[in-house]
Subunit: 750 residues, 2 copies
């Protein structure tokens, strides 16, 4: 540890030398606060107190929270519990409150807040010196205050801010004590002593890097700043090793540090490869450290790195939410997480202030009803006060995945004002939080799930459920292929469920077209998930005048070298209304299989198609839905329910419908209609029947797949996709029912 101390001693005079050249930089480096709050910013805030309603309301609420905690007294218990337990909760609450108290000290100039932060930090200093590893041994990188280094890093990210705000309030002696016995050892512990945690490309490492960097900025410790940005040069780790979630710890040519975490997981569009749930989680350290760098070291342009990818990330994230603001649970994602969460307050305010002052962001801030207590938050609150807010409208969007945007992506098709939203995933694996679900989708009507993506199997922070950690059903169910709305072959997972293989592959976009309001199409292919089998899935949202609402058309074209058993599930949300086929329901329920997720599905019914179309209707959230699917005589139709082999009730007992088909090449064509409504108050059942009289594959070969949709009044629509040429300028013509159809571009609809 003495080495680093020397580094600092060496550095300080160096900075003083630089002073003579770039005075403003060094003034910033010396004065406090300068990390998130700045001297100027604080003055502006003080000048505006009492004049900006949303800012004042936030101050008042934060004050109430902090005052209550101050009254309750400081507690820094000896670490003992997993998340969900008291000591975990208390230490987490401590850093959250300390950061807020520090901000209040700056804004309100009331010493009691500084005293609170000071006393808490000194209490931590006294404890930390002799603190052993956390007694819970489950983590691949145990922390000291918490069961994993990740949470220790959370602590340091917040406490760095708290320290910065009271820096000048403390005596030099107190500062030295804190820096030598608490902050520097703490930073070393989560980095040097935990390279498996610190030196990865992973949201864990992002937190670690930001933590080390932020305390480095406050302490003006260049070594720590460099370690934050570039990682540990030689971590001595072997290639391989896995973390608690099954993610690989070190790969060949491992990148590391904050820049690597910014470069790799973010696509140029701002899509974060782990998915929105983890993007939301990583967004805080990404932005708050980038902001700190912007304040202290603007020369390094961290906030602008990779063509402003962080600000683009905020936009991507907001667009990966349903009409209620809840993030789509792509990969591991806990449902219900939304843009109302604290890290999105940070994200929205920073994106507004440091971005292009998009007035639509203000309407999100209004909904959040809270702003950051810094210059960005003040700026947002002032703009809202001044009536600048505009409605945040979400349109269809196609987000690439991968460092260069060349590893597939995620498309979100939206009809109307989020009346119908299709989320189509043709992305890369998504690191250790990825699921084996190439070309899968979910469907939403406003904020309600019509066809769900299961999300994760975890009760975050609920101690009774495995310490709040990932449950084994996350691996045995949530990550499996059959848990998703995509094709499963011979009861196997995509890539055989092999993480390493899956991590090297991705699906490919065939084309994306949201230029027309009434027909929006995304189409992608996957050739690696099942070697020898090619899947080409084309999904469209279509609004036809003869239909009450928009519907989803799904064409999954499968080509294979040999015959397989294909399972094609629909995880519909709601209660069965009826089907147009007969099914047998067993009296005793048995699991559908014994592995790859099938062991968690009960078979509740089994039937055969009655006609050339299989129809299945359900009622969910007061609306009717009907699936119409082109049937083959040999299809088996399975009604399933999640929950088999789940003695701890870790899984939701949700329903599914599945088409099982033995074939070599085949095409699954389906339409999901949303129609009508039911109100238990008026007891009016409106438009409860499907509007489709016939769904038919009228042509299907290597060049073209054509589908006709005939509604109950006899009108016929034709959708054709060119299977080989996605060029927008290619000319096609095809004879269907003795009529020649000609068009330009990858698809035809009329």
């Amino acid at each position: 540890m003495y080495v680093k101390k020397i580094t600092k001693l060496v550095l300080t005079p160096l900075v003083l030398i630089i002073t003579t050249f770039t005075a403003s930089f060094v003034v910033q480096a010396q004065e406090h606060p300068n990390l998130i709050l700045t001297k100027d910013g604080v003055e502006k805030i003080r000048d505006n107190l009492g004049k900006v309603p949303l800012f004042d309301a936030t101050v008042s609420r934060v004050k109430q929270t902090v005052d209550k905690e101050i009254a309750a007294g400081i507690d820094t218990p000896i670490p003992k519990d997993f998340s969900g337990g008291y000591t975990h909760y208390r230490h987490k609450q401590n850093f959250i409150i300390a950061q807020k108290a520090g901000v209040l000290y700056q804004i309100l100039e009331d010493d009691k807040y500084a005293i609170y932060v000071r006393d808490m930090l000194l209490q931590y200093e006294a404890m930390y010196k002799n603190l052993p590893l956390h007694p819970q041994e489950r983590s691949y990188a145990r922390g000291k205050l918490f069961w994993q280094s990740l949470n220790d890093s959370n602590w340091l990210v917040y406490m760095s801010q708290a320290y910065d705000t009271v820096y000048n309030f403390l005596t030099e002696e107190q500062r030295e004590k804190l820096e030598n016995n608490l902050f520097r050892p703490f930073a070393d512990f989560i980095s040097l002593e935990n390279p498996a945690f610190y030196n990865r490309v992973h949201n864990h490492s992002t937190w670690g890097n930001a933590a080390v960097g932020m305390i480095g900025l406050v302490m003006d410790d260049e070594a720590l700043i460099q370690r934050a940005l570039y990682g540990i040069e030689d971590d001595g780790l072997p290639i391989g090793g896995i973390d608690n979630d099954g993610g690989t710890i070190k790969v060949e040519g491992q990148k590391k540090g904050f820049y690597a975490n910014l470069d790799d997981p973010f696509s140029p569009d701002g899509y974060y490869t782990e998915g929105p749930y983890y993007q939301r989680y990583a967004m805080y350290p990404f932005l708050i450290f980038a902001l700190a760098m912007e304040n202290v070291r603007p020369d390094l342009k961290v906030l602008q790195h990779k063509d402003n990818v962080l600000l683009k990330g905020v936009n991507a994230l907001l667009n990966l939410s349903d009409a209620d603001g809840e993030f789509f649970p792509l990969n591991d994602g806990q449902k219900g997480m939304s843009y109302y969460t604290a890290s999105l307050v940070t994200a929205v305010d920073i994106a507004y202030h440091y971005g292009d002052q998009n007035p639509q962001l203000l309407s999100i801030a209004e909904k959040q009803n809270e702003v950051l207590l810094d210059e960005a938050g003040l700026d947002v609150a002032i703009a809202i006060r001044d009536g600048k807010a505009k409605l945040f409208t979400k349109s269809s969007i196609n987000l690439t995945d991968g460092i260069d945007g060349k590893q597939g992506g995620v498309a979100v098709l939206r009809y109307g004002n989020e009346d119908l939203t299709l989320v189509f995933k043709y992305a890369a694996q998504g690191l250790s939080h990825g699921h084996y679900d190439k070309l899968s989708y979910s469907l939403y009507e406003k904020g309600d799930e019509v066809i769900q993506d299961y999300g994760l199997s975890r009760f975050v922070n609920i101690g009774q459920k495995g310490g709040g950690n990932y449950l084994k059903e996350n691996k045995t169910w949530a990550k499996t292929t059959i848990a998703h709305n995509t094709l499963a072959q011979d009861g196997e997972m995509h890539f055989g469920g092999n993480y390493k293989t899956a991590s090297t592959e991705h699906s490919d976009l065939y084309f994306y077209d949201d230029t027309k309001d009434n027909v929006q199409v995304v189409s992608a292919t996957e050739v690696n998930a099942y070697p020898g089998t090619k899947m080409h899935r084309t999904m469209a949202l279509i609004k036809d005048d003869n239909f009450e609402k928009a519907f989803m058309l799904d064409i999954m074209k499968v080509k294979s070298d040999e015959e397989h058993e294909y399972d094609f599930p629909f995880y519909y949300m709601g209660q069965v209304i009826n089907g147009n086929f007969k099914w047998e329901s067993p009296t005793d329920l048995e699991p559908l299989g014994d592995k790859n997720g099938y062991q968690h599905l009960y078979l509740e019914g089994k039937g055969k198609p009655a006609t050339n179309n299989t129809k299945f209707s359900w009622l969910g959230n007061g609306k009717f839905y009907t699936l119409t699917s082109v049937a083959e005589e040999s299809d088996e139709l399975l009604l399933t329910r999640i929950g088999a082999n789940d003695p701890e009730f870790n899984l939701r007992r949700d329903a599914g419908f599945m088409v099982r088909r033995e074939a070599e090449d085949t095409t699954f064509v389906s339409v999901v209609e949303t129609h009508g409504s039911y109100s238990p108050v008026s007891e009016a059942s409106l438009n409860s029947n499907s509007n489709i009289a016939n769904l038919e594959i009228v042509e299907d070969n290597n060049d073209y797949t054509a589908v006709s949709i005939t509604d109950v009044k006899g009108s016929k629509q034709l959708f054709i996709i060119a299977n080989k040429d996605a060029s927008v300028s290619a000319k096609h013509s095809l004879t269907i029912d003795n009529k020649k159809v000609s068009w330009v571009g990858p698809y035809y609809y009329k």
Copy 2:
């Protein structure tokens, strides 16, 4: 039919003779409108147009609806469908719109509305003359326009109002045509030709009686009025016979007519024996006919009958709703039905206007955001405009059941502002819509179910689900004992599921005490459900300072002549968090039994108590709940799921927890705590553990049952119930743990 015509001819001069004595009465009888709208009322309304916001808004909305229908044109299709089908929907829509159009004609004086009503009525007249019975044969009393006479009666109740409003617009010739070919035959059909429907004490007959009475009032036909009030003298029906729902059609000494339907099903407190769902349904004909009588024949004081029981009924009904205004689904009740339904707009406005102008009713009317377009509605809207509305606060209430209030009842205990609500049913059978669930309960936190009552098995008006009618699972599941939160013995239903026996019995109140805020108790006994077995259940809502929130204490004391297998279920709403005992979960699910509802329960887990307290926790609606139950070593603990033997998916896949115990005499003592919260946005899990360290039966004999509750901090509370003497003045003393406890009244708590 000529007989009735003569009756009228005879009557008219009679009325004229009376004229000389009570001029005002006859003036009323001759002028139109006089049924719901009156000449004076209409004038008052016209004077106030544009001045009363809620009234104007309602007029505007109704106008929009009616104008749209007028634009679409009149359709009176040949009857064909069940509810859920087009012809059913259309005819229903017709009478609803015609009534509204008539009102608009009066208010707005625009002839187009009268023309619309006139033309529709004449179209019906042309069709009705030769109309056969409805082709659907399922009903015990088929209608002509609809599949059951019930819906035909709905039609006439509304069309009578429509006719009254356009009476003076029609020519005498048109009126005669309508009266002779449509209204009078229609009234005769639903009464004389359908005595099995008309001559009962049942919500069906209430509609029938009101229909006949209302058209009688408009046509000034005393014979019809008398038939409405007193039924058909000699209906020629045999004793017995059952309707579609299994209700007996004719019993010995059958009462009949509107008065009978007012007298019998309503207790003096205004509780309607079928339960709130059907009270809501019957409320409209009850009130609208009573109001018509008040307007046309105030001398008969129908609205004031039985000490204003109808107005009391409105109050009872409003109190039988949860914090969201949804009615408790006692007996057959479809969940989600609430005081936002149209018949409750009628009820609230009439109760305000003709009752004591309770300003709390105005806040309900505000929430309904709609008023009746008559004098009552105007009155309500004016009062709201003038700021008279006060919050409708629901307190604890005990409602007797039975004609004299002596057939048990329903108690609703409420803590705080509906923070915790216990609905305890110790009532009579509730006619054909009753369930076999003596001493059962449900528990709510605000508007969320904690421990649910299943409600009915029916998708009202959803044609695909058995024509929208009762499904067979209503009988095989919803009505059974094991479907409810009460004691089932030897796998049998209360009263052996025999409707006739059940109809002669009821539970008895032991005592009810809501005088203290922190302890509210209801206690009742049942000795007939299982001959030889006495159940005595005492339920309390308790708020103790050492607990975060109020909890429910449940003491079910069972005494029997012989040993039985007792099942004691808890239909909790949510996902399992954990239990303090081990359970085995079978890989294959089998039904728990083969009859009496057990055939619909899957066994998902089975265990034995691990300690003297069985604990079981779940998470529902973002809150934690824990059941703590005093265990016996031999108890079996069963985790169940509804849905076995339900191939049509008519039942919800909801969970249950059940204690199974072999015993002769035994006492089930349980506490259900609601505690803490979980937010998927902040991911904060607060207070997720039970606060009870020990629950113990410290004394249990014929005289007293004493329960001690020790919380995790070691505080102990004692609850004692005197089992033999419920007198409020009786003095008791008991030695517990060598300490003498003395108190006055049926229970002790400290």
